[in-house]
């Protein structure tokens, strides 16, 4: 080798640590991460944390107020609310994560194709426009109607309406980046299209994509809850926050907790994810950060 190793390469592992430290110094990100990690732990260790079998029906003990046995009381069928909340976190987190990954992967693939292959662009983007013209929740209901309701179909049904948004964003970044002189230089040096895309274009879309993914995750959790609330979400035997609120519809005037506790869980989760997204956005793309009064 030549004597090029004298100067330390700038992309050493040190950079990862500075990045982590930078992440942890940001209070917005710290809050969001904290909430998410807590929820993830709850979801993972749900089988340890539950106190009463969440599926056990005890009609004699229905609509009880909080007690030593039923920490947060019971619902109209006598099921333990605390245990159901614990298990419900699994559905929300899985839906959030899976939908975000599905939408981001499919959306960026379509966006990259539209941005790089000009003749497909028009066709693809008009299809995306068409999809965006239908309200996300209606599209999801239609898809579930066609596919039937279980965790997989619900994730797909929620992810599909998000795809056009991701595709549009990726396409617009690709269209800007592909005009950069360094991309043209790579073209004139005979770089093949796949290498060109991965080496020169994809790194530019990662930052906005990560931010977009957090917003998709939080809206997915909300949509799942809404679908369950409407009675077309998760099957009734699987506890989810949306199901719990749906069941509580008739009884929440007697027992407000039935509605309140899952509601708080949803709100907290969404808030946590959104704060994480805001923090990441401010850090990764300083141009979008609110310059005045922004969180430092």
């Amino acid at each position: 080798m030549t004597a090029t190793t004298v100067i330390a390469p700038a992309s050493s592992p040190v950079d990862v640590w500075t990045l982590v430290r930078k992440l942890l110094r940001n209070r917005t990100i710290l809050f969001g991460l904290g909430v998410l990690i807590l929820l993830a732990l709850v979801a993972i260790f749900a089988s340890v944390l539950w106190t009463v079998d969440p599926a056990a029906l005890k009609p004699r003990l229905r609509l009880r107020s909080p007690s030593a046995v039923n920490w947060l009381g019971t619902d109209n069928l006598g099921r333990d609310i605390w245990s159901r909340l614990i298990y419900g976190s699994r559905v929300s987190l899985v839906v959030g994560a899976v939908v975000a990954i599905l939408a981001v992967v499919a959306g960026s693939a379509l966006g990259l194709i539209a941005g790089m292959v000009r003749w497909i662009d028009n066709v693809l983007m008009r299809m995306m426009d068409g999809m965006m013209a239908i309200p996300a929740i209606l599209l999801a209901i239609a898809l579930i109607g066609g596919l039937g309701a279980n965790l997989v179909t619900i994730c797909i049904a929620i992810a599909v309406p998000e795809i056009p948004r991701v595709a549009r964003m990726v396409r617009s970044v690709v269209l800007t980046v592909r005009e950069e002189a360094y991309v043209e230089a790579a073209v004139s040096m005979g770089t093949r299209l796949p290498v060109l895309v991965i080496r020169h274009i994809v790194p530019n879309i990662l930052a906005p994509l990560i931010v977009q993914a957090t917003y998709i995750a939080s809206s997915a959790i909300l949509i799942e809850a809404s679908l369950s609330f409407l009675g077309i979400g998760m099957p009734d035997e699987i506890p989810s926050w949306g199901n719990m609120m749906a069941d509580a519809r008739l009884y929440f005037q007697i027992r407000p907790g039935l509605m309140l506790f899952p509601g708080i869980c949803i709100a907290l989760t969404v808030l946590g994810i959104n704060r994480l997204g805001d923090g990441l956005r401010d850090m990764l793309d300083p141009r979008l950060a609110r310059s005045v009064g922004g969180v430092k």
Binding site: T4, T5, S11, Y182, A185, M189, G190, T191, R199, H200
Partner: protein, 536 residues
């Protein structure tokens, strides 16, 4: 000597929070007399703009004057209140900038923007007719034809030169005594630049104002300055009247700056024998846009029937103003763009309409160096990775490629140990050398330089031009040299093609074109070149 409008004495600007006491500019002395143009000349980073901003009280955050005085007609400006400075800007100090589009509000008509100024800076209310009359007069003062139509136009509807005139009209509206012009013609075509320079010169005479004119171009200085201040790294190197300074510059740096201005005279005038043709372009056409479904839609013919041949070791200059189609021509020839029709014969193979797949093996013979060195290198890749990309694409192993790239860096005059560093660690000139090394890595026969020296300081520009000439004689490289600057083309090129609205209006050997320009447009370009008479 007439009364001084502006007196800057011992001005020193430092960082607001800085324990080391670093100074951005030190001990600056500039005096602008009434009725004269004082040019502050220097390369990027010399502190010329900081000096101008100090006078207007608009120093960027983090900078503040720490010593010296700035007097406007005897009134001290350092330490003046923000309110007083705001009052002075506009009423006593007018300012014009490099890019008029960003300085004008895109959603207001010209009339509205000028009227707003009138209303802000006067206590009594004006009737609409009065305002209209003043606005119209101000625009007519700028020798704008159709001033009454211009009033109703939005900035995007105006040409670059018209916008700059509107900016000057705004700056002059409240009859200031000092005009500060920060590179006002740098973004303009030469012919437009000429008109704006004439206008400023004329205004100085008519209104008897003082002008502080910031520029990097000694050609412009030679054309308009009465006094010159040369700056380098925050210090005034030399100052004096323009005649004395141009005739006998005492400081080596001033001499270097003046000598670096391209004079448009070929340094080496060897005549070349006919050489094997490496590139032949025939009837090349490029049309943008397409007719819509109903035959409407806009079609722009960016290049109409271009034809030329390029021999081994030959440098052809393509000269034209913005929108002349010269860059489109370069992009078609390098096949970054597929021409509408025509023939591009590269070493005997027609690549004009070839598909990407058949084109790839031929790409190595034709490489491009772009204008903006800051955007031509991927900021996320180390210099080494950027450089070896092409070599690896054409079949070398990464280790071979690194060895080759190291020798190329030497060829372009860069340290070979920089391979692991990143583009942001280098200056514009260094980056452009890296880009040239990258272009040479695939051993091309033809190098296309698309305004490759336009973004560089004059001294760096002169170095890069020498590098190009050197590469030609050492490697027998043929070049298509795209530039808007006839003077630059004249220094380097064997032949010159002048383009206007997509057509090659004149072509011939550099000597012929320079000594005896045939086409009226070429003649106009020559007469507009700044500093033509005085710098020869």
């Amino acid at each position: 000597m007439s009364e001084a409008v502006l007196e800057v004495a011992g001005l020193t600007v430092g960082l607001t929070h800085d324990a080391d006491g670093r100074r951005i500019v030190r001990d600056i002395n500039v005096t602008v007399p009434r009725g004269q143009i004082v040019c502050v000349v220097g390369e990027s980073g010399s502190g010329k703009s900081v000096t101008a901003f100090s006078v207007t009280g608009l120093l960027p955050e983090g900078l503040k004057p720490v010593a010296g005085s700035i007097k406007l007609l005897g009134e001290e400006l350092i330490g003046a209140t923000d309110d007083r400075m705001r009052e002075l800007r506009g009423s006593r100090i007018g300012m014009i900038f490099q890019e008029p589009m960003t300085a004008l509000n895109p959603v207001m008509t010209v009339r509205e923007q000028l009227a707003e100024l009138i209303e802000w800076h006067s206590d009594k209310r004006h009737t609409k007719a009065e305002v209209d009359k003043r606005v119209l007069a101000a625009l007519e003062d700028m020798l704008l034809p159709n001033a009454s139509q211009m009033m109703r136009a939005y900035p995007h509807q105006l040409s670059g030169g018209q916008r700059q005139r509107v900016m000057i009209a705004m700056a002059m509206l409240l009859e200031p005594i000092l005009l500060i012009a920060d590179e006002p013609t740098t973004a303009l075509d030469v012919t437009t630049q000429k008109q704006i320079l004439m206008l400023i010169k004329d205004l100085v005479k008519r209104k008897n104002i003082g002008v502080l004119f910031i520029t990097h171009d000694f050609g412009v200085v030679a054309d308009i300055a009465d006094q010159v201040v040369v700056m380098q790294r925050g210090l005034v190197v030399e100052s004096g009247s323009v005649d004395a300074l141009l005739k006998n510059p005492t400081q080596p740096y001033t001499r270097l700056l003046i000598n670096s201005v391209p004079k448009g005279i070929r340094v080496a005038t060897e005549t070349r024998e006919p050489t094997p043709t490496v590139l032949e372009v025939k009837a090349l056409k490029m049309t943008y846009g397409h007719r819509g479904f109903f035959g409407r839609g806009r079609v722009t013919q960016a290049v109409k029937e271009a034809a030329f041949t390029l021999g081994r070791g030959e440098i052809i200059g393509v000269v034209g103003e913005s929108g002349s189609g010269k860059s489109t021509l370069a992009r078609c020839v390098s096949r970054l763009m597929k021409p509408t029709s025509g023939e591009i014969s590269l070493l005997g193979t027609d690549i004009a309409r070839a598909s990407n797949e058949t084109l790839r093996p031929h790409r190595r013979y034709i490489q491009v160096v772009f204008q903006d060195p800051y955007r031509s290198l991927n900021p996320r890749l180390s210099v080494g990775r950027s450089l070896i990309e092409g070599v690896v694409n054409f079949g070398a192993t990464p280790d071979e490629a690194r060895a080759k790239v190291a020798s190329l860096l030497e060829l372009v005059g860069m340290d070979t140990q920089i391979l692991d560093r990143f583009p942001h660690e280098f200056s514009g000139g260094q980056r452009q050398r890296i880009c040239i090394a990258r272009a040479l890595a695939s051993e091309p026969q033809i190098l296309i330089a698309d305004e490759a020296v336009s973004a560089l300081d004059v001294t760096v520009q002169a170095q890069v031009l020498r590098l190009f000439a050197d590469l030609r004689s050492r490697l027998g490289l043929a070049m298509l040299f795209i530039t808007h600057d006839l003077r630059v083309a004249g220094e380097l090129c064997d032949r010159i093609m002048v383009m206007k609205s997509g057509e090659i209006v004149e072509s011939g050997s550099t000597a012929d074109v320079f000594d005896n320009p045939q086409h009226p447009y070429t003649q106009a370009l020559f007469s507009a070149a700044p500093g033509r008479e005085r710098l020869q």
